[in-house]
């Protein structure tokens, strides 16, 4: 079932290319139907995973020979982590289309690229052959470039090229690591499950881990390789920012976890402390920089760097609670960041045509766009990590895991949470609540698709916040699978 998410997305993209140019409505509906079908498959996969007698276990979806000359297989599989992220992709895809409902210019190309990106993202989350995973990973790079370069705003060509080159350099590092691992293991297979059994020499692991992990983590916004993220997010059109922050950054984190950490556990132990330190710097740095931004979208862009720091920190704790928290944080941040970018990019910017916090302050948006204000307050509360929202559960688990592994770093990360509260509140008051209560400006009302999209995301973050077992039931057991066993060697659980 889950494998269909990939096929449907690419088929939707191909179908859109064939549609007539002048019918944006047809393009929108086609894209929405394809994304909904993808979401339905993802939900079905998640339900099946929850109800199976062995939830979260690794299940093969497709496993066929593809390029036998080099031992490449078309191997799709899923465990609880894959299912969680596929579900996130499905939600983000549908909501992103709802928030792009107003796109008239070259609509069919927009949605075709959008679905191609989604297809690539699904593919990465479900691939268990490293060649295949790499193929999908690269497929996801190119549509991002065009989505930003054609439909973007502020310095779009710069932002698009920077993002493309950062991604490509990261994937080049990954490629070298994968080729080296393939050759060392005997040039037989790219299958992750097979390669993970091979005992790579420690000296090899030390550099190969760094290459692969950093290569992927560039896309996860690891400090100091995060600089593509704010410019890229700001330049991107709303739906693309939502996807960038919502799922594309997760591609990096997922790849680092799935490939880097699983294949090279010894290298992981060597570099664990250093990477955890970088992650915490990212948390504090992202939050601090967000505190002084004038552009509303930059605030959210830097907040993404900060929140992704929690994912990387959780991964480095090498404890079950930390890793589960990191996975949940990927989901949670995907939803919350999507919501924040939707409010800033679509609800506010498309109407007020400014993102300057000083200018917005004079408009008193809470009166003219109450729905946007309420949504942002909810999203902000979720982003701050208030109990009841998904971010709280996720960050709590990460910090609990970090408490054992790195007490000092954990304190600093907690400090980052406090700064996170500060920048969110600052942006919220400046953007929506004017001191001059009489000030009022008139804007077109929030449309129905926007309302549906926002409510979906709010519902998702609340559902996970109130009943985290919806996802934890499949995430936690995934870390007990044989594939993950090398991670725990030498690490206290």
């Amino acid at each position: 079932m889950l494998a269909w998410t990939i096929y449907i997305s690419f088929a939707g993209a191909a179908l859109l290319m064939c549609l007539p140019e002048k019918r944006p409505a047809a393009a929108r509906w086609t894209a929405l139907v394809a994304a909904l079908a993808g979401l339905a498959c993802a939900v079905a996969g998640w339900m099946a995973c929850r109800q199976s007698p062995n939830p979260g276990a690794l299940v093969d979806l497709v496993n066929k020979a593809w390029i036998p000359e080099v031992g490449v297989r078309f191997h799709l599989a899923s465990d609880g982590i894959s299912v969680t992220l596929a579900l996130l992709t499905g939600i983000a895809a549908v909501v992103g289309i709802l928030f792009s409902w107003n796109i008239e210019q070259r609509a069919k190309e927009f949605f075709a690229l959008y679905l191609a990106l989604i297809g690539g993202v699904y593919g990465v989350f479900l691939s268990f052959d490293l060649f295949l995973l790499f193929v999908f990973y690269e497929i996801a790079i190119i549509p991002k470039y065009f989505l930003i370069a054609i439909w973007g705003s502020t310095r779009r060509e710069y932002g698009a090229m920077k993002l493309a080159l950062y991604s490509f350099v990261g994937s080049a590092m990954v490629l070298v690591g994968l080729i080296a691992a393939y050759v060392v293991a005997g040039s037989q297979t790219f299958d992750l499950v097979e390669l993970a059994k091979y005992p790579f020499p420690a000296a090899f692991q030390n550099w190969a881990f760094l290459l692969v992990f950093i290569g992927f983590a560039i896309l996860a916004g690891l400090w100091p390789f995060h600089t593509w993220a704010p410019t890229g997010h700001v330049a991107a059109p709303t739906a693309a920012s939502m996807l960038l922050a919502g799922v594309v950054m997760k591609l990096g984190a997922y790849g680092a976890l799935r490939v880097g950490m699983t294949l090279f556990p010894i290298g992981l132990h060597t570099w664990q402390n250093y990477i955890a330190t970088l992650a915490v710097i990212g948390i504090v740095y992202g939050a601090t920089v967000a505190l002084v931004q004038k552009d509303f979208k930059f605030v959210i862009g830097y907040s993404s760097v900060s929140h992704m720091g929690f994912v990387l920190l959780g991964m480095m704790t090498l404890s079950q609670i930390g890793l589960s928290g990191a996975t949940l944080q990927m989901f949670s941040h995907g939803i919350i960041a999507g919501l924040l970018f939707a409010v800033v990019g679509r609800m506010v910017y498309d109407r007020a045509h400014t993102r300057d916090l000083g200018t917005l302050q004079g408009m008193n948006l809470s009166k003219s766009l109450p729905f946007a204000a309420v949504t942002f307050v909810i999203a902000g509360a979720a982003s701050m990590g208030l109990p009841g929202f998904s971010g709280f559960i996720a960050e709590l688990q990460v910090l609990t895991g970090a408490w054992r592994a790195f007490p000092t770093l954990m304190m600093l990360a907690a400090l980052g949470v406090i700064v996170g509260v500060a920048f969110t509140l600052r942006a919220m008051t400046k953007a929506f609540f004017s001191e001059d209560a009489a000030a009022r400006s008139h804007f077109p009302a929030i449309t129905i698709p926007e309302r549906i999209g926002a409510l979906t995301l709010v519902a998702a973050t609340l559902a996970i916040g109130l009943y985290p077992r919806l996802l934890m039931d499949v995430i936690t057991p995934s870390f007990n699978s044989p594939l993950m066993q090398p991670l725990w060697k030498g690490a206290g659980r």
């Binding site: 290319m17 140019e21 593809w66 390029i67 036998p68 000359e69 080099v70 060649f131 790499f134 193929v135 690269e138 497929i139 790079i141 190119i142 470039y145 065009f146 370069a149 054609i150 060509e157 090229m161 493309a164 080159l165 490509f168 350099v169 080049a172 490629l175 070298v176 080729i179 080296a180 393939y182 050759v183 060392v184 040039s187």
Partner: protein
């Protein structure tokens, strides 16, 4: 089917496509002579890849080269075409002299001109220093044909100045033939001197990859950009020669054939654009609005050259990289792979610049839809399909290559 057959079929197909591309162009009245020369050049290539003695290789190489020099000068109304041909001829003549001198030295040392006999003669007695002079000179001559740096200086001018179909011909099928025959000479005639020529090839590869990609960054003419990208791609393909023979052959043949198809497609698109304005980057502005199908094919070609999956260019590179990395001693050549991957990361920038013009930049004053000739359109779509098809299912070609290699090992 032997490997030579595969190479010959590919060469003839590519030559046919290039000839078809020439049909509607108006650069000459001497249509008969033009196609005669094209045929002579193709004959030269077919003999070249089939030849198994050095003298015949040289004769075929000259038949190819002399025909192509004349073809490059065929646009008599354009001074650039004459300049390109003159440069090509002068550099090429020099390179041919080097090759011939090298061959004569090899003959002097071994007393043989047949490839296998040379290998046997070399194995029988220790090599004399003069043999290495001959080896290096032969390699220099071929490096010129391949446009490998630092023997690439003719390439940008010829690609830009020569009539576009001719440039496409030089860039595609003649590349396949030259790489194939170089591999034959190295693997069949000089297997004993492998470690010696490996260092030369490695040096050529590194210089080509770095110089080609860096120089391409600043080009404003798409044809010059393709020329420097050709230099870079010659570097990647040279990596294949460093692999162990059982991997080197499939990697090299797959890479050169897919590269030739891709670059021929790109040149066809450029030729159409040139007829409707020019072949500079800014002339492509907004092309996707005017010719959506052709633009999409150009997207495929450019991304394949950049090495983005699931296109043929990606698998070609990937296979070359794993072949080079697996060469004994394992990972001994990993540094070269790292250089190649890094160079490839640089290259995305300039390919995206082309695509940015086509897709993101607003069209200039010309906005009328642009319809290439029916045959040209079909050829472009065919080549784009080939690039996608061979990228998604590389086994289509690979199984044939490996089958040929097991049936008739060298």
């Amino acid at each position: 089917m032997t490997l030579t057959h595969i190479a010959q079929i590919a060469i003839i197909l590519l030559a046919l496509l290039a000839a078809g591309l020439s049909k509607p162009r108006g650069f000459t009245r001497h249509v008969g002579e033009y196609f005669a020369l094209l045929l002579l050049a193709s004959l030269g290539m077919v003999i070249l890849v089939g030849a198994d003695n050095l003298l015949l290789i040289f004769v075929a190489l000259e038949l190819l080269s002399v025909s192509v020099y004349a073809l490059a000068a065929f646009d008599k109304s354009s001074p650039a075409s004459a300049e390109a041909a003159l440069k090509y001829f002068l550099f090429g003549g020099m390179a041919a002299a080097f090759t011939l001198f090298g061959i004569s030295l090899v003959y002097g040392v071994t007393g043989e001109i047949r490839l296998e006999a040379i290998a046997n003669a070399l194995a029988a007695k220790p090599a004399e220093p003069i043999f290495y002079v001959g080896l290096v000179m032969t390699l220099c001559g071929f490096a010129f044909k391949l446009a490998a740096a630092p023997f690439h200086w003719w390439a940008p001018d010829v690609y830009q100045g020569a009539p576009t179909p001719v440039a496409a011909f030089i860039a595609s099928s003649s590349k396949v033939a030259s790489f194939y025959v170089l591999a034959r000479i190295l693997f069949i005639a000089f297997p004993g001197a492998r470690t010696d020529w490996m260092s030369i090839i490695a040096a050529l590869a590194v210089i080509s990859m770095l110089l080609g990609n860096v120089a391409a960054l600043v080009q404003t003419s798409v044809k010059r950009l393709l020329a420097y990208s050709a230099v870079a791609h010659a570097g990647y393909a040279l990596l294949a020669l460093l692999a162990d023979p059982q991997h080197a052959w499939p990697a090299l043949i797959f890479y050169t054939i897919t590269y030739a198809v891709t670059v021929l497609g790109a040149f066809t698109v450029v030729a159409v654009a040139e007829q409707n304005g020019g072949a500079n980057m800014r002339d492509l502005a907004g092309l996707s609005r005017r010719a959506p199908v052709m633009s999409f094919c150009m997207l495929v070609f450019m991304l394949s050259l950049a090495g983005i999956p699931p296109l043929a260019g990606f698998f070609g590179k990937f296979y070359v990289f794993i072949a080079a990395a697996s060469a004994a001693p394992r990972l001994g050549l990993l540094w070269l792979v790292i250089v190649a991957v890094a160079a490839s990361a640089i290259s995305l920038y300039y390919y995206l610049q082309v695509l940015k013009q086509i897709y993101a930049t607003a069209p200039g004053e010309k906005t009328a839809p642009l319809a290439p000739a029916y045959f040209t359109q079909a050829a472009i779509v065919f080549m784009a399909c080939a690039v996608v098809g061979l990228g998604c299912f590389p086994s289509l070609l690979l199984t044939r290559i490996t089958a040929a290699l097991t049936a008739h090992p060298f």
